[in-house]
Symmetry: C2
Subunit: 338 residues, 2 copies
Amino acid sequence: MAGIKDVAERAGVSTATASRALSGRGHVSPAARDRVLAAAKELGYVMSYAASSLASGRSRTIGVIMPYINRWFFAELLDGATAQLMSAGYDLSLYSFEQEGQRERVLADFLLRKRLDAVVAVALRLDESELQQLLDVDKPIVEIGGLVPGVPSLHLDEHKIARFATEHLIGLGHREIAHLGGLDETSRDYFPMSSDRREGYRLALREAGVEPVPQWDIAADYTVGDGYKKAKQLLASPGRRPTALFCSSDEMAVGAILAARDLGFRVPADLSVIGVDGNPLGETVGLTTVAQFPARQGMQAVRMLLDHLASGAGSMPADSITVETQFVVRSSTSVPGA
Amino acid sequence: MAGIKDVAERAGVSTATASRALSGRGHVSPAARDRVLAAAKELGYVMSYAASSLASGRSRTIGVIMPYINRWFFAELLDGATAQLMSAGYDLSLYSFEQEGQRERVLADFLLRKRLDAVVAVALRLDESELQQLLDVDKPIVEIGGLVPGVPSLHLDEHKIARFATEHLIGLGHREIAHLGGLDETSRDYFPMSSDRREGYRLALREAGVEPVPQWDIAADYTVGDGYKKAKQLLASPGRRPTALFCSSDEMAVGAILAARDLGFRVPADLSVIGVDGNPLGETVGLTTVAQFPARQGMQAVRMLLDHLASGAGSMPADSITVETQFVVRSSTSVPGA
DNA sequence: CTGAAAGCGCTAACAT
DNA sequence: ATGTTAGCGCTTTCAG
C-alpha cells in the first residue's frame, strides 16, 4: 500500500509538502499541489488515520452518546449527525448509555482515549461526578435535550410547547384535558424534558382557570404500547372523563387514539388528541402535533462542533440554543363533541 | 497525562512488559502484571488508541454500514451491535449508505483507511465493482440480510417465512390472499429480501391450488404510511376483495389494519392480516406475525467478527447462517368471516 | 519471562 | 514555498 512517501516521491516533493497539499493546511504552490493530488490518485493513496492522529492529535472522529438508538427521536437524530459528518469526511463513533454498567466505561474509557475530537451528548442526565468526568475530558461538547449544565446545548422550549398544545385544546373549547407525560426521575426510562412539559400543561390549564386533575396527569414511557394502555385505563374509568388529551410524544398519542377507538370513542368527536414530535406514524391516524426535527438537530450539533474545530478557538461558549418546532394540525383535534 | 512509560516506571518494569501486561498478549509474571495494573490504575492511565493502532495495526474499531438508521430493523440491529461491541471494549463506527453519492466514499475512503478491524454490512446491494472494492479491503466482513456474495452472512429464510405466513392464512381457510411486498429493484427503497418473500407467497398459493391474482400482489415501501395507502386502495377497489393479507413488514401490516378499520372492515372477521418482523408496534393492534430478532442478529454478527479476530485465523469461511424466527399469533388472523 | 530498540506513517516546528 | 528532521505513544521483534 502506498504511503505518503511514495506520493511525495512520485510528485517530486518532500513528504512535508505532500502532507500539506493533501490536508490543505499550510501553503503549497498550485503546481506542487496538483502534482501531489495527481500522484495520490494514481497510487490510490489513502491516509492512515492512526498515523495522522498520532502525529497531529486530531482523530477526525466525533463521538455520539445516547441512551437509546432504537427510538424515533434518537435514530432520526443519529441519521442527521451521520450524514453531516460523512460529508465532512469525519467518522462517527457511537456509544450507548442504555445498558447500565456501561455508563462508567463510556465516560472513563471510551471518551478519554484521545480518539474523539468532539462529542455530541443526547438526552443525558448525569450526576455530579459523571458531569465532572465529562467536563474533564476537555473536548468540545454539544448537548441535545438533556441535563448537562455548562456546555453548549440544543433544546426545545419544552415549557412553551406543552403550553401551546394545551392552549390549542383550550382554544377549541376543551376544559377537561388530561396529559400523558413522562415517567418520573427515578425511572430508567425517564426523559429530562418530561417535567417541563408537565409544568407547561399545568400552567396553561391554570391560566384558563381550570384546576388540573391529578389523576389525569399520567406517567408513561413514551411508547405506543404504554400510551395505549394508560389511555385505555383513563378512558375506561367510571366517572368524569376528559374530552381532550395532550401527549408528550406522538407515539403515546397514537396509542391513545387506538385505545379510544377500541373503546368505541370517536376521535376527535369524543376525544381530541394532540402529540409532540412529528413522528410519521402520526400521519396515518391524522394526529395533530407539535413537530420537532431531530435529524436537523443532529446536523446542527455536528455543524457547531465542526465549525468550532475549524476555528481553532479555545473553548465553546456554553450557549443554549432553542430549536424550532412546527404546529401541524390534522384531524385528531376539534371542538368537543364535533 | 500518564503514558505507558510512566506506568512502566512506576511498576519498575520496561515499557515492553507494561504493554504486555496491559494488553494480555505475551507472557508476564503474575507479580509484574499486578504491579503494572496497579500502577496503571493509580495513574489513571488510558491507552492512546492512535499510538496503539499505528504500532499494532489493530484499531479496536469495527464499522457498521447500513442504508438506513431510522427504521426499526436497522436501529434495533445497531443497538445489538453497539452493546456487544462496547462490552468487548471495541468502538463502533457508523456509516450510512442512505444518501446516494456517499456510496463511493464509504467504500473508497472510510472502509479503507486502516481504521477498521472488521465490518458489518447490513442490507447492502452492491454492483460488481462495488463488491470488488469491498472485498479488496480484505477485512473480515459479516453481511446481514443483503446481497453480498462471497462473505459470511446472516439471513432469514425469506422464502420459508413467506410461505409459512401464507400457509397460516390458507390453513385458516382463506383462498383470497393478497400480499403487500417490497418495491422492485430499481427503487431506492428496495430491500433485497422482497423478491424471495414474494416468491414464497406465490408458491404457497399455487401449492394450495389457488392462482395468484397479479393486482393483489402490491409493492410498498415497508412503512405504516404506505401500507395504509396501498391497503386502502386494494380494499376500496370494486369487485373481488381479498379476505386475507400477508404483509412483508409489520409496519405495512399495521397500516393495512388501520386502513381496513377506516373503511369499516373488521379485522380479522372481514380481513385477516399477518406481518413479518416482530415490531412492537404490532402488539397494540394485535398483529399476528413472524418475528425476527434484529438486535440478536447484530450481536451475533459482531460476535462472529470478534471471535474471528481473536482466533487470528486467515480468512473467514463464507458460510450463510440462517437466523431464527418465531411465529406469534395474536388477534389479526382468523378463519374468514369469524 | 523481561528489556532494548527499532519502527508504525504521518505532522509540525524549524530552517532555508 | 519547500525540505529536514524529530517525534507522536505504543508494540514487537530480537536478545538475553
